[in-house]
């Protein structure tokens, strides 16, 4: 889906780095420091850029970032919203999923939770063209693998 111009001017990639950083909390210390410093990337620029772009999220939400480092020490990055499992755990109020999903229910969430999570996920760069209903279905599926039951309303 890249334009011809983009392909022609594409810089050689040195590495692809994946990180989990709390929103608004990027600092030039581990884990960000060693991962990026290794490739001589400008830590300050990344921290400032990342913090500014994640201002709209609640502080300390773990965001997943994918950084493409180019050979000339420049970089680009994309920020994705936290994983569905993290949202479900927060919505259900539990620390970890059930140890025996399918047999033991860890907690419950309502359809409204699912809808809210789907809305947030739709603003992700990769889910923008998916219909909301299918995003909801995949979230319900993930909840099932974690042992979280979905109910219409909380009693």
């Amino acid at each position: 889906m890249a334009t011809l111009k983009e392909i022609l001017t594409r810089r050689p990639v040195a590495a692809t780095i994946r990180l989990t950083v709390p929103a608004g909390g990027a600092r030039p210390a581990p884990p960000v420091g060693p991962a990026l410093g290794q490739y001589r990337l400008n830590l300050m620029a990344f921290c400032k850029d990342f913090n500014a772009r994640t201002q709209k999220y609640k502080p300390e939400t773990p965001m997943s970032v994918t950084i493409t480092a180019f050979k000339d020490n420049t970089f680009e990055f994309t920020v994705k919203s936290p994983s569905v499992t993290w949202y479900l755990k927060k919505a259900a109020g539990i620390e970890s999923g059930s140890s025996r999903p399918g047999h033991v229910t860890a907690s419950t969430v309502t359809l409204k939770h699912i809808y809210e999570i789907a809305k947030v996920k739709q603003s992700d760069p990769y889910c923008q063209y998916m219909p909301l209903e299918s995003i909801c279905k995949s979230i319900i599926g993930t909840a099932a693998t974690m042992g979280i039951k979905v109910v219409k309303e909380l009693d």
Binding site: I17, P31, Q55
Partner: protein, 387 residues
């Protein structure tokens, strides 16, 4: 990269951390059902790199790097199938890795093999075996990938990150020069910096915008407040342009340390430039717990130092959107009526929020833009509507 420059600002490390670095041990773990040839080649690579690194003088780290940056981490190099690469990296992150990186150039070395290396970083307390096992199981890998665990080398990444700093010309006649370089233009105004781990190296668009704003505002003899001083770069620049005194505040003790050192590097004494650590007043509570501990000591100091509101001729705050919005009253209260207040650290898309919030206090609002970042400046309204 010469080691002399490193020795210049690296100071003696406390004994405890020194022993940890000198014992740069390598754990090699071998899982069954893996090819022995790949493992042995990996072993050779590991021993070669550990012997070279142990001879470096960076066994002592500078006192400007706080314990947080020196916190140990485990560096794990995992060999896995190319096909499973993406999923495995994601799974590793879910199960406790702090980061995973994949080098592109590894492909050239081994075109025929379908293996690729992932460099992963784990916090020291994590059980690496368990994480990798869980990650491999969760995506259904048939065999556990082979990997080795190393203690992370602190100075290595710090050194490499430092290497990326070069002298920067902000505008004609104004240069920011890292401590270990010589100024390209000796006649120009040169700000010598040791970037350390604080924000404000002069390369970022927002710093440049603020420096340009400062240059246009300072005529001589002003009192300047740098809210969120980071490395102290704006305060130092103000003195060099002719301000009478600069005051820098920050919530990060690391920043205050860096700023002190940078002021000394530019021969600016404590009379000309004062620095204060202030508690984080934003909600929710800041994650920097160290500040809470220091608050008791410094609260009296703060009251003495900077509770003088309406005292400063120029106030600049180059931080982030949320603190800027929450602390708007506080920041503007330091400026004299008619003084200029500059706000930066905001993306162009965040601009409407800032303008909405600050138009209550400021008039004659001007904007300057660079890349995707903006700087807003205005003069404080003279009539006190909110008192």
């Amino acid at each position: 990269m010469s080691f002399f420059s490193l020795g210049h600002f690296f100071k003696r490390l406390p004994y405890k951390q020194l022993t940890r670095h000198q014992n740069l041990f390598t754990l090699i773990k071998q899982k069954p059902r893996t090819q022995s040839t790949t493992l042995s080649s990996v072993l050779i690579k590991v021993s070669a790199c550990s012997s070279s690194s142990s001879s470096s003088p960076c066994t002592s780290l500078s006192s400007i790097y706080p314990p947080l940056a020196e916190s140990p981490y485990l560096s794990v190099r995992i060999c896995c199938q190319k096909l499973a690469l993406d999923m495995f990296s994601e799974a590793l992150l879910c199960f406790g890795a702090s980061s995973t990186s994949v080098d592109e150039h590894d492909n050239d070395a081994d075109e025929n093999s379908d293996k690729i290396y992932i460099d992963s970083i784990f916090p020291e307390c994590k059980d690496v075996d368990e994480c990798i096992l869980n990650a491999a199981n969760s995506i259904g890998l048939k065999e556990i990938p082979c990997y080795e665990v190393k203690m992370g080398e602190q100075c290595n990444w710090i050194k490499k990150a430092q290497e990326s700093f070069h002298p920067v010309e902000v505008t004609k006649g104004l240069w920011i020069v890292p401590e270990w370089s010589t100024p390209p233009d000796v006649q120009a105004t040169n700000i010598i910096l040791n970037p350390g781990l604080a924000f404000g190296t002069g390369e970022h668009a927002t710093t440049k915008l603020c420096l340009l704003l400062l240059q246009s505002l300072i005529k001589g003899g002003e009192l300047f407040l740098d809210y969120g001083t980071g490395s102290g770069i704006l305060g130092i620049a103000a003195i060099k342009f002719g301000a009478a005194m600069s005051v820098g505040v920050d919530i990060d003790p690391q920043a205050i340390k860096s700023a002190h050192q940078n002021a000394a590097l530019n021969n600016i004494g404590p009379k000309k430039m004062k620095l204060h650590l202030v508690p984080d007043r934003t909600f929710p509570a800041s994650m920097n717990e160290r500040v809470d501990g220091i608050v008791e000591d410094l609260s009296s100091h703060e009251i003495r130092g900077i509770s003088e509101t309406e005292k400063y001729d120029v106030v600049i705050a180059n931080i982030l959107l949320n603190p800027l919005l929450q602390l708007a009253d506080h920041i503007v209260s330091y400026a004299k009526p008619g003084a200029v207040v500059g706000i930066s650290g905001i993306l162009s898309e965040q601009l409407p929020h800032i303008i909405n919030r600050y138009s209550e206090f400021l008039e004659d609002i001007l904007l300057s833009e660079m890349d995707d970042w903006t700087c807003v400046s205005g003069t404080k309204k003279r009539a006190k509507e909110d008192h």
